[in-house]
């Protein structure tokens, strides 16, 4: 292994500082009430108490979590079934599935939301419901991440042989898929869904364009807080970052566990 030179360490430190400054400054800003002198005074966690006791904030947080879960579950089920069918019955279609699942990478949120609106806004069925539109839009946005994660997981297990082995032992293909393949790619599924959680948590554009302020998620709450109280906005921002960090930590933990079990295999 190469020894790290002082230069590369310095560069990494600089980048770290650059990335952490906004976060640290926001955290400090949210914790002090008096900014008239050079050194801030008046340490207080009042803003955190305030936002956590604000039912609107809790509702926004709950909504955001709820609006995360539904599209993720839908997308995982759809991708799993699609990959199952292509792997077993139509292996030649796999590359088309891949292309379709990768397209959303290139679509900007604004374009996607405007397109969905113009398509469905005059629809009188359930598809015209703003919330359904939002869920659908999130499904599209997270599709590449979920697809890539699950497909990589499937590559790591030898799916055709495992399915054939299960079939020879008396299991149906679908049963074998959910009993044998899915448990083996579970950590891949979890990792990709946590990625999707991060994406939906950070969304402002889609929810703003599709639902306006009718559906107040955490980003909308943040936006409104910014207009009224900078200190409160900073506190909200810190909470969002904390939740995102927590998600990342879980992802890293799961990945390291997966690597460990992969290393154990000879």
């Amino acid at each position: 292994m190469k020894k790290h030179s002082a230069g590369s360490t310095a560069i990494i430190l600089l980048i770290l500082i650059y990335l952490l400054i906004p976060l640290v400054v926001s955290a400090i800003y949210s914790l002090f009430s008096n900014w008239t002198g050079i050194v801030p005074r008046g340490f207080t966690i009042e803003k955190y108490v305030e936002i956590f006791s604000d039912p609107l904030f809790r509702a926004a947080l709950a909504r955001t979590i709820l609006i995360c879960i539904i599209p993720i579950v839908i997308t995982i089920v759809v991708v799993l079934l699609a990959l199952f069918v292509t792997a077993i019955y139509f292996p030649r279609l796999e590359k088309y599935v891949q292309i379709i699942c990768m397209i959303p990478y290139t679509i900007q949120g604004v374009i996607l939301s405007i397109s969905i609106l113009s398509l469905y806004v005059s629809n009188k069925t359930i598809l015209g419901n703003r919330l359904i539109m939002l869920i659908g839009a999130y499904c599209i946005i997270i599709l590449p991440y979920i697809y890539q994660g699950i497909r990589n997981g499937m590559r790591a297990v030898n799916m055709p042989v495992l399915l054939e082995a299960a079939e020879m032992l008396g299991a149906s293909k679908l049963y074998a898929f959910f009993r044998v393949i899915v448990p083996n790619i579970l950590s891949a599924i979890i990792v990709s869904s946590l990625l999707a959680v991060g994406i939906i948590f950070g969304d402002y554009v889609l929810v703003r364009n599709l639902d306006g302020s009718a559906f107040q998620n955490i980003q909308i709450y943040l936006y409104q807080a910014m207009k009224s109280d900078g200190m409160k906005a900073s506190a909200v921002f810190v909470v969002i970052m904390a939740v995102t960090f927590a998600i990342s930590a879980v992802v890293l933990y799961l990945q390291s566990r997966q690597n460990k079990s992969a290393k154990g295999a000879k």
């Binding site: 297990v157 030898n158 042989v161 495992l162 054939e164 082995a165 299960a166 079939e167 020879m168 032992l169 008396g170 299991a171 149906s172 044998v180 448990p183 083996n184 079990s261 154990g264 295999a265 000879k266």
Partner: protein, 335 residues
């Protein structure tokens, strides 16, 4: 009717015919080997019996019933695969129990059966281990136990030892043969390794290019190849055309090609006088030690003849030495 019968079996992948009109009978209680070079159709034939490939035309019978269109899971066939195929999320014991659970065997019965079969394959100590904690040999033993525990009518083994290193492979060959004879189960073993086929089988079906080239007991296949392909695939036959034979020995053989095994040739520094022999005179070109035997590649009047001698009890020759060779005419195979 034989226990297993393939009748006029054809299988094509698109335009490519992989199995061409196979007719094959397999008797109950035997271990038979499908032997052949890669791409000869041996694995495909096995998979047709398992039901993992559909046949293009023809019939497959097992135990008197036509199973051509029966679902793989209803055929009562156990299979061990080439790649490790244990379910990674289950322990050895859970893997073995999988097939019994599918059959809805009561759980106390499952435990007894699983313990018994793990004992037979020598894995009792590993029953709580996951596949990633087991060696390749242990994994294939567990896969064997998993295939055997449901008491299948026939056990299929698709090159199960090809990923395992040489020493362990030899042990497992003997082991599989022992278990097969102990349980009296009918087994079909696919391999491209002729030594493995020789060691394990009651009958070898040598396949070539989508057909059965020769079916025989291992020793008969070795000593009496029926075609030039069999002679070139089995052992290290010297396979000479009539012209080469005349160049090397000065005699024209009665017909066609002549094949003789390198270990039946006598080699000496002085001319060999023997009745009914082809005699040759040449020089040693290469000497290759194969452990217990030494293989000399000699050149006799421009024709290469390989000679095997047991190492130790024979005179050792060097590159460039002049040698005389003799091979009994009755031991040659005329093809």
């Amino acid at each position: 009717m034989a226990y297993i019968r393939f009748e006029n079996l054809n299988k094509s992948f698109g335009e490519k015919a992989v199995l061409k009109d196979i007719n094959l009978d397999i008797e109950q209680g035997q271990l038979v080997t499908l032997l052949g070079p890669s791409g000869c159709g041996k694995s495909t034939l096995l998979r047709c019996l398992a039901g993992l490939e559909t046949v293009t035309s023809g019939k497959v019978y097992l135990d008197g019933t036509d199973i051509t269109d029966v679902n793989p899971r209803d055929r009562g066939i156990g299979m061990v695969f080439q790649q490790y195929s244990l379910f990674p999320n289950m322990t050895a014991a859970q893997n073995v129990a999988f097939g019994l659970k599918m059959k809805k065997v009561p759980s106390n019965e499952i435990d007894t059966k699983v313990n018994n079969i793990l004992d037979v394959v020598g894995l009792s100590a590993q029953k709580a281990q996951y596949p990633s904690q087991m060696s390749g040999g242990q994994q294939q033993r567990a896969a064997l136990a998993r295939a055997l525990v449901t008491e299948p009518k026939v056990l299929l083994l698709d090159e199960p030892l090809s990923a395992i290193d040489a020493l362990l492979r030899h042990n497992l060959q003997v082991e599989i043969r022992r278990i097969q004879q102990e349980l009296g189960i009918t087994a079909i073993f696919v391999t491209h390794d002729q030594e493995e086929a020789m060691v394990m089988s009651d009958v070898i079906h040598l396949m070539y290019n989508g057909g059965i080239e020769q079916s025989a007991r291992p020793i008969d296949l070795y000593t009496q190849p029926k075609s030039t392909f069999v002679a070139s695939f089995i052992g290290h036959y010297n396979l000479l055309s009539a012209e080469d034979m005349q160049k090397a020995t000065g005699e024209k053989p009665e017909s066609g090609n002549v094949a003789f095994r390198p270990e039946i040739i006598s080699i000496s520094r002085t001319p060999i006088e023997k009745e009914n022999c082809f005699t040759m005179h040449g020089t040693v070109n290469v000497s290759l030690p194969h452990g217990n035997i030494l293989r000399y590649a000699t050149v006799c009047n421009g024709v290469q003849i390989d000679v095997d001698v047991l190492f130790g009890e024979n005179e050792v020759f060097d590159r460039g030495d002049e040698v005389y060779l003799a091979v009994s005419k009755s031991e040659c195979v005329y093809l």
